[in-house]
Each structure stands twice: as structure tokens, then as C-alpha cells.
Amino acid sequence: MKINHNLAVSESGFLFNPGTGESFTVNPIGAEIIAMLRNGKSRTEIIDSITQLYQVDRNSFEKDLQDFNGILKTYNLLEKDE
């Protein structure tokens, strides 16, 4: 998972794609994940970090992350090769 490098991300979870003009909002966990993706964290590192910080079992979060990845892909928010 590599986030589109052009994407403007604010701390409030507001995302703006300057290439298409589309904007989105994500919840605090979504914003945290996107921040980690922007910092180059791998999928495993994100799973480790979130499951340590919050009360969520690894399997559930892996599934949620997969769903989130699908949404990011649908809206062209990931780099093209993803």
C-alpha cells in the first residue's frame, strides 16, 4: 500500500486529490493509517502499531485494513502500481 504522493492530507482527516479535485473525509483511525502510509510504513508495521495501540484483535484489523485498502484503490488514492 503506497498512498498517492500528490494527495493533500490534513490532520482533521480531510483528503484532497489535486489532480482530480476530489475530496474525502476519513475517521481518526483512517487518518492515522494514512499518516503511517505517507511515512512509508509497511502493511505489517501498520497492523502492529494499531493492534498495540487499540483493543482490536489482529485478524479483525487485518480484514478491516484490507477493506480500507480496497476503498483507497477504488477512489484512486493509491499509487498506480498498487
Binding site: 500528490n6 493533500a8 484532497f16 489535486p18 489532480g19 482530480t20 479535485g21 476530489e22 475530496s23
Partner: protein, 348 residues
């Protein structure tokens, strides 16, 4: 150093739900860095809101409709010029452009400058000729056919398929989902705007527009792409955001350099689901949302005025991305005497 003061006449003061570009153009001119202006409004109707915006327009004159012919327009413009000493006219309606283009040389003799497309450019980009235009310049255009009889719709229905766009030669466009709707829209448009009516293949996607300015020698002086964020029932952008889309800017450069476009323009594009751009329309004038371009750093009305005067403005290279325009309506309270003055004397 004092700046020159130019007297600039502007049409399109109908700041209504489907607005003319005049008021936005005037705002750009008033914010010009290189000159000051005296604005002369040119209006066709006594209820065009711009007439009564005295902080923007110094004086407005009624002018005859294009159907009255170029001679009637020339006579009126020369009368206005005798009182106001015009330096520049910026016409902003598709339907009036032809008359102004015809008068360009005559008006120049009277010291009035314009910066308009050539007759060839104007005709070539016409909705009726857009398919041929696309093929000639290698730009994707949805297949379109101009028809003059509603019975012809049936003949082209298989090829274009439904839904199908039904468009007037000047304004108006409807999406028809079956042959009955297509016939109804054909008759509606033909009655209002005349023939032919254009049938165009429907492209699913997101609407993007570019406003820009060509110097007539193939150079882009300004170009700002925008994504429509909110669209009215008439298909007009009521809000939009400036975007940084290299593909759109490349397409604009290709359009300007291939046609050597002279003047302001608006490219209406549709981006399909697979990321392909289709050129839906070329408007041969500045669009009503041009103030977004001014707001993000490209004062198109100012640069156009300079080109009209024979100067060579520096091409704009950058603009702010992610800035929105959000249109609003505003009720002005106008004394009856002002309305009366304009209605009776044709001047205010």
C-alpha cells in the same frame, strides 16, 4: 508611476442562474495589476443585473440583439463610442460573437480594439463541426451528428445508442433516454435555437472545464482547469475547484498550438471511468466562472485586454490548486427610476 486608464465595454451582464460572464470579467478587469478601468456595460435587456451594479459598471447602454444585424450594432456602438471613447470591447456571448467578429476591422478604425477568434476558428469548433474538429486535431470527441429533422433521430439511434445527448447549436442540452424523449427535446431545442440540432453520444463521467487564453500565434497565455463541484439543473457549475491535472493542461496546449487560438476560451471535458478525456464543447469566449482563474493567480480578462491593445503579456505559468469558487445569488434593491431610465433611454 500612474497606471493607464482604459475604457472597456463588456457584454454578458446577465448575472442570472445561467450567468453571462460579464460581471466576472469586469471583476477581473477591476483587479488588473497593469491598468485602471472605466467599465461600460452593454446590455440587451433592462433586467440584466449588471446594469445596476454601480460599484462595478460605470455606465450601461442598451444594444440591439444580434438578430437586428451587424449594421444596427455598429451604429449603436459608434454612438456609444462618440460619448465614451472606448478602447476595448470584450463580447461575452456565443450568439453575438459573429457580429462582433464581422465588425472587428471597422471598430478598429474607430480606435476600438477586440481580441476575438478568427472566422475559421469560430466555425471549426462549432458544436455542429466538433466531430470533424476532433479528428483533425487528434482530440477525442464523442461521436456527434447534426440533424435538421426529428425523423432522422431514429436513423442514428442504433449508432449513438441511448442515453443520447440532444444539443442546441447555441445553448441547451438534454439527456434523452429513449426515442420519444429525443424527439421531444429535438422539438423544444429547434423551436428555441433553430436548426440543426446535434445528437451526441453520451459519455458517462465527471465534468472538467478549462478556461484559457491563446495569443493567436499558438501560445497559451493562461490556462486553469476546474472540476465542477456543484451543477445546477441547467448544467452550470455553481461551485468548482481548481485542479492540477497535467493531462488537461497538455490537451489545452495541444488545442491552442494546433488551432493558433486567438482569444479567451473554455474547453468542456468529460473524464470517463477509465480516465480518458472527451472534448464535449469549445466555447469561443471567457466563461462565467473566470473569476476562479483570477482568484488563483491568472487574470485572463486583464491579459486579454492587453492582447487586444497589441501588447504581449507574459504567459501565466502557475496557479493555486485546490481553491474553490462558490457562486451565490444576491437581491439588489433598485429604485424604479433607474429601471425606468434604462428602459426608456437605453442608458444608465
Amino acid at each position: 508611476m500612474s497606471r493607464p486608464i482604459y475604457t472597456i465595454a463588456v457584454t454578458g451582464l446577465n448575472a442570472i442562474d445561467s450567468p453571462g460572464p460579464g460581471v466576472a470579467v469586469i471583476r477581473g478587469l477591476r483587479e488588473a495589476a497593469s491598468f485602471d478601468v472605466r467599465i461600460i456595460g452593454l446590455a440587451y435587456e433592462s433586467l440584466e443585473p449588471g446594469i445596476y451594479m454601480h460599484d462595478l459598471v460605470d455606465i450601461t447602454y442598451l444594444i440591439p440583439y444580434p438578430t437586428a444585424g451587424a449594421d444596427a450594432l455598429l451604429e449603436r456602438l459608434l454612438y456609444i463610442n462618440s460619448h465614451e471613447k472606448l478602447d476595448i470591447i470584450i463580447p461575452n456571448f456565443d450568439a453575438e460573437l459573429y457580429s462582433f467578429m464581422k465588425l472587428e476591422a471597422k471598430l478598429r478604425d474607430s480606435g476600438i480594439h477586440m481580441f476575438l477568434p478568427t472566422f475559421q476558428q469560430f466555425e471549426e469548433r462549432h458544436k455542429v463541426n466538433l466531430s470533424t474538429f476532433g479528428k483533425k486535431y487528434g482530440i477525442d470527441v464523442p461521436e456527434g451528428i447534426a440533424v435538421s429533422d426529428s425523423s432522422e433521430i431514429h436513423k442514428h439511434a442504433d449508432k449513438l445508442d441511448f442515453p443520447m445527448m440532444i444539443k442546441g447549436k447555441w445553448y441547451d442540452a438534454y439527456v434523452a433516454y429513449n426515442i420519444e424523449q429525443a424527439r421531444t427535446y429535438f422539438n423544444k431545442i429547434a423551436a428555441k435555437w433553430g436548426l440543426p440540432v446535434i445528437l451526441q453520444k453520451f459519455v458517462h463521467g465527471t465534468e472538467y472545464n478549462v478556461t484559457g487564453l491563446g495569443d493567436g500565434e499558438g501560445n497559451v497565455i493562461a490556462a486553469v482547469p476546474m472540476r465542477k463541484q456543484f451543477i445546477t439543473d441547467k448544467g452550470k457549475a455553481w461551485a468548482g475547484i481548481s485542479i492540477d491535472d497535467k493531462k488537461l493542461l497538455e490537451l489545452t496546449t495541444r488545442f491552442v498550438s494546433a488551432t493558433k487560438w486567438r482569444g479567451g476560451f473554455e474547453l468542456e471535458m468529460m473524464k470517463s471511468g477509465d480516465g480518458k478525456y472527451f472534448l464535449m464543447e469549445i466555447n469561443p469566449r471567457i466563461p462565467a466562472w473566470v473569476y476562479l482563474a483570477v482568484g488563483v493567480g491568472q487574470n485572463i480578462p486583464e491579459a486579454l485586454a492587453l492582447l487586444a491593445l497589441g501588447q504581449k503579456p507574459e504567459p501565466y505559468k502557475t496557479f493555486d490548486v485546490g481553491k474553490l469558487f462558490i457562486r451565490y445569488s444576491w437581491d439588489m434593491i433598485v429604485d424604479r427610476s433607474e429601471f425606468e431610465n434604462f428602459s426608456v433611454k437605453g442608458e444608465l
